[in-house]
């Protein structure tokens, strides 16, 4: 039991420095969303979209790797990017919850993508100015990808919401489900606010109003009235998750858990 206790301590989120938590959180956001997108591989509506969606997943995994590599350097405990991705449990994952929701149907995936794409376009644009050079460099690479992601997700939202009754219904259902999870994108934590003062992090709460305005205006074109939900589900950055993340990690981490240090 001693080993288990020791490792639990090592992984305790609360014991990490603000910078470590910050970078790890961004890494987890990217990896978890990447995995959800990758679940479309070979299952997308048609081949071209399959490849395009998988490409977006690859963009996110690239982003995750850069943040994990940096997180490993910051915490300096001899763990590498793979250890961070494959050997932490659900409660040690600190992604914002919207990223971990199951991929759902195609409409759900694209609506989530649209909502986070708008967010990342605004967020990464500001993260470029981070005083932390590594973070700014990662943001510079990611912001180009994220602009392309938005160019991809927007036409899908328009097309599906103005398409058949069925496709519109699916868009509305997805929005209904996702809007309980968008608030967390803009909720600042105390330690994160310290990093904003140091010029390292971005004040996410300042993005809520422009994000609302953008999303509302875009959806209004398709005659969808989007309002933020009063119910907001939160907890991701503190390791409190929906029931879905554990199942996802179970699958994602299976190989490393069953065959530790396995390589190929």
């Amino acid at each position: 039991m001693e080993v288990a206790t020791a490792s639990a301590k090592t992984f305790d989120i609360g014991q990490q420095s603000p910078l470590s938590r910050f970078v790890l959180g961004l890494a987890d956001d990217a990896l978890v969303l990447s995995h959800r997108l990758s679940q479309w591989c070979s299952k997308a509506p048609y081949l071209e979209e399959d490849i395009a969606l998988s490409n977006v997943a690859l963009d996110y995994i690239g982003r995750a790797r850069m943040f994990y590599q940096y997180a490993a350097i910051i915490e300096d405990k001899g763990r590498n990017e793979d250890d961070l991705a494959y050997l932490r449990d659900e409660r040690q994952y600190t992604n914002l919850l919207i990223h971990e929701l199951p991929k759902g149907d195609f409409a759900f995936t694209m609506v989530r993508q649209f909502l986070v794409d708008v967010f990342y376009n605004m967020y990464l644009e500001q993260l470029l100015a981070s005083t932390d050079e590594t973070i700014a460099a990662i943001a510079a690479k990611a912001v180009k990808e994220t602009r392309y992601h938005l160019k991809r997700s927007e036409p899908w939202i328009t097309q599906l919401s103005q398409g058949t009754d069925e496709s519109r219904q699916r868009i509305l259902c997805a929005l209904d489900e996702l809007k309980d999870f968008t608030g967390e994108l803009f909720e600042m934590l105390e330690w994160e606010a310290q990093l904003v003062e140091a010029g390292i992090a971005v004040d996410r709460s300042s993005l809520q109003a422009p994000w609302d305005a953008y999303v509302q205006k875009f959806l209004a074109v398709s005659e969808i009235d989007y309002q933020d939900s009063k119910l907001q589900i939160r907890g991701g950055r503190n390791g409190i998750h929906t029931e879905h993340l554990g199942q996802m990690l179970c699958e994602m981490q299976y190989l490393q858990r069953s065959y530790p240090n396995m390589n190929w």
Binding site: P45, Y46, L47, E48, E49, I51, A52, N55, Y148, K151, R152, P155, Q159
Partner: protein, 95 residues
């Protein structure tokens, strides 16, 4: 999404400035804009190109294979039409 509702596009990529666009393949898409994006994802994701053209396949008028003799054969005995005897200066690349 039913495949038959999609349009087939031919994709042309220019791999470098100064070169011509070359046909690289075809793909399905719902609009020319979407075809451009899919072309990016399917054909130049390892930065193989600097410019993409997409053309609806139905807009291409092609020679008929059974009729190809009447197009090609008359040229066979006219070697002077080929510029093979000119030496290309080293400085001229990409010709």
């Amino acid at each position: 999404m039913q495949q038959e509702k999609l349009t087939v596009y031919e994709v042309f990529i220019r791999s470098n400035r100064g070169l011509d666009h070359k046909h690289v393949g075809s793909l399905h898409a719902q609009s020319p804009e979407q075809a451009l994006m899919y072309a990016r994802d399917c054909y130049i994701r390892r930065s193989e190109g600097v410019s993409i053209w997409v053309v609806e396949s139905t807009n291409i008028t092609a020679s008929d294979e059974s009729d190809i003799e009447s197009y090609v054969d008359p040229m066979d005995d006219k070697p002077y039409r080929h510029a093979t005897h000119y030496v290309l200066p080293d400085k001229v690349r990409s010709m």
